[in-house]
Amino acid sequence: MKVVKRFFDSNRQHFVEGGRFASLYALFEAIETIFFAPDTVTRTSPNVRDSLDVKRFMTLVIVALLPHYAFGVYNVGYQSHLASGVSTSLLPVILTGLSAVVPMVIVTYVVGLAWEVLFAAVRKHEISEGLFVSCALFPLTLPPTIPLWQVALGISFGVVIGKEIFGGTGRNFLNPALTARAFLYFAYPAQSSGDAIWTLLRDGRSAPVDTFTGATPLSLAASTGSDQTVAGQLAEAGFSNGDLFLGLYPGSIGGTSTLLALAGAAFLVILGIANYRIIVGGMLGVVLTGGMINLLAGPQAAAFLHLNPLHHLTIGGVMFGLAYMATDPVSATHMPGAKWVFGFMIGMLTVVIRVFNPAFPEGVGLAIIFMNVFAPLLDHLEVQLRLRRRIPNI
């Protein structure tokens, strides 16, 4: 610890005004403050300030995401071994998972940080920790087969277009990680859709073994004919309700586990970082919309319309999206009432997109981005309502 301190103290000179690497000061500051909080004191009242800062706030989101990484590594490896017909014992599975996930994470962070440092240097501000959260979220939304250059391109788009051109963290109105994901979806549909992308094949195989269906629960649900039930199809494909809840099925790296997303959501809500109104509102939106569709659907309608609404929460990434993406405080609505509406609409749109638009099997990402756009309007309405109740003081 003393050594670390000495290292920073002796190298600071190179990064301050006039030093050789003065333009990299933001990076130096970011790294140093990871180890030691700065010694800056208040200059104006209030003389004392809360212990919470943005670094801790954002770090706690990353902490909540770590179980998703652990599970994602396992699931990627597990599905890959199943599809390739090799042993599914723990250690090899984890190694396979790591070999897929770790490079993606590294690429995301290196590229994302490079852009952030560049903008920080030009704008002369400190590196915002929001970036680290975006970079932690992005790989979790990706299929494990995605080429690394697309990862790099995606995060570049997310950081630059989703955030920096609006002025950086705090001024962006879209969620950067989702912007990145959506960009890849539309720019490279080949690597972003179809069943094959969700499972990594090993040993040079070009097709999975016959016993492995490879379809994600969502695509199964969407393709179920009106003479069958989705639940039956899922059971036939070998997805028990337990597997679905746990997330043990082919899908994005981190988005499959409803259980972990619920746990993470609870963790963040208890700490006061994620807002429960958005999450609960979103779950209500999913379940009520699913239920409505059940009621309205005629007997001839596609089986997906008759799916038990609770199932909508366990298949696909809706819970992950609600817990971590929709609750990004900057791009979500700010007002308490608007948060309910915002969450509810996301849940509703997700189900509608899923059920009625077969081109997008997973709708949660689009639903969130769509609602991000409307968030300022919702806020504006609630703010005006509230201001009307004030006794003027002018």
Partner: protein, 451 residues
């Protein structure tokens, strides 16, 4: 007596709460006046170094309104006048002599007070140099002499760490207090409100029907601005005046006896004080006298001497003097040291916070707080904490943005003038944005325009 339940705000559990006991200090060699710290007054000096002064001789006047003068807290000789950058007058220091002559006035008995014309009373207060103790909402500037307020509020306690306990400074002085209220009644033509916390049991017992509002709630429940916000019915109510409990006693003493009161009760607290307690000392007493022998000798780092509470107060060097309105001296570590290794992921059992992100939320004991900012400056992350904590329901981050964009109309609609300058928004902000300071400056600009 009305009960008010104030839903918002925050209570600080800070180390160094002053005990409810009092030490009486002797006469210091020097006393001082801090013109720089008298808000909304542009001081003009009326004395020069070496001039003899009496207790009550005017030392400065307000350039904008020369009727408003500020009396000397001691008798003797002007020893020094200290200026800061751009020639702001920081301190006027008086060296006390033995006999300490004083300016005196005719005493005004309670009966005479009953009879006196309001305008004559106003003139008496102005002549005494104590008019500036009366302040006006929403700006908190000196009350305008030519107007009748919709109400005058008296605030007795203050939950900010750490202000003097009203039971101590009111002890045995209820009569004087009552006389003071009669003065205010004359000024406000009957609309005088006295508020105190429901937790002040003994005080309520002794003041009884003198108290009009009892509230429960966290800091700054006791602020006059909060009281106005929670009780106002129409826009005119916004312009109520207020006066602090001890200042009212000072004013009452002068009118009743014709002599200046030169002592008050100070609260000395904070983590750097070995025995936090109350002190009876001179107005404008040197900080050194208050701190003498009471500092925690085990602490070797820098300290900050804060007058007026850790949230709304200002820092002064230890060589300075207590300001005219100030009743509290709080000593906390400066905090100009680097944080603990990897502090941002530690559970933080001893880190004070409003949020729920530290285990200290489970810790019931009083915690140590220093003046470190506890984080770097970041853009707003819309966590909504500032709006949640604001005692007068301002959506602070929206208001802040409106002020920065120079959309003052919008900021006013958001309640910019309702802001009570409690500092809680800046305190809770994880992005360390100077919210209160920004709003305060915008308010000061508005005040200038109004005059």
């Amino acid at each position: 007596m009305k009960h008010l339940q104030l839903p918002k705000g925050f209570n600080f559990a800070l180390q160094g709460r002053p005990e409810e006991e009092i030490d009486i200090l002797g006469r210091p060699d020097r006393v001082g006046l801090l013109p720089e710290q008298i808000a909304f007054v542009k001081p003009r000096l009326l004395v020069r170094p070496g001039d003899p002064v009496r207790i009550g001789s005017p030392l400065i006047e307000d350039k904008r309104n020369p009727a408003i003068k500020f009396p000397s807290p001691g008798g003797g000789r002007v020893a020094e006048i200290n200026f800061g950058p751009r020639r702001v007058i920081k301190e006027v220091v008086i060296e006390l002599d033995e006999q300490e002559d004083a300016v005196t006035f005719d005493a005004l008995t309670a009966d005479q007070l009953d009879q006196i014309d309001r305008q004559d009373l106003v003139q008496r207060i102005i002549d005494s140099g104590l008019w500036a103790l009366l302040r006006r909402l929403p700006y908190r500037d000196v009350a305008p002499v030519d107007r009748t307020p919709p109400a005058i509020l008296v605030n007795l306690d203050n939950k900010q760490p750490f202000m003097p306990a009203p039971s101590l400074y009111l002890e045995g002085r209820t009569d004087l207090f009552e006389y003071g209220l009669a003065v205010l009644n004359k000024l406000a033509q009957g609309r005088v409100f006295v508020g105190t916390a429901a937790s002040q049991g003994a005080l309520l017992e002794s003041l009884r029907e003198l108290v009009t509002h009892v509230y429960t709630g966290a800091y700054p429940a006791d602020d006059p601005g909060v009281l106005v916000y929670r009780t106002k019915r129409k826009p005119a109510d916004n312009h109520a005046w207020y006066i602090q409990g001890q200042d009212l006693l000072m004013l009452a003493h002068l009118l009743k006896t014709g002599q200046y009161a030169t002592r008050r009760v100070y609260a000395l607290g904070g983590a750097c004080v070995s025995r936090p307690m109350h002190l009876g000392a001179r107005l404008g007493a040197p900080l050194a006298q208050l701190m003498d022998g009471r500092l925690d000798s085990g602490y070797a780092g820098d300290r900050r001497c804060i007058q007026g509470g850790v949230l709304t107060g200002f820092a002064t060097p230890p060589s300075s003097y207590m300001g005219l309105f100030e009743t509290a001296l709080t000593l906390v570590p400066e905090g100009n040291v680097k944080g603990a290794f990897l502090g941002f992921v530690r559970p933080g059992f001893d880190r004070p916070t409003y949020s729920r992100t530290f285990l200290s939320r489970l810790n019931r004991s009083n915690l140590k707080m220093d003046c470190n900012k506890n984080g770097g400056d970041r853009a707003c992350i819309a966590c909504f904490a500032c709006a949640d904590v604001c005692p007068v329901d301002i959506l602070v981050h929206f208001t802040y943005k409106a002020v920065l964009a120079d959309e003052i109309e919008d900021a006013l609609r958001h309640g910019l003038l309702d802001c009570v300058e409690c500092g809680l928004c800046s305190y809770v902000c994880p992005s360390k944005i100077e919210l209160m300071e920004t709003l305060k400056q915008a308010r000061a600009e508005l005040q200038k325009e109004q005059i």
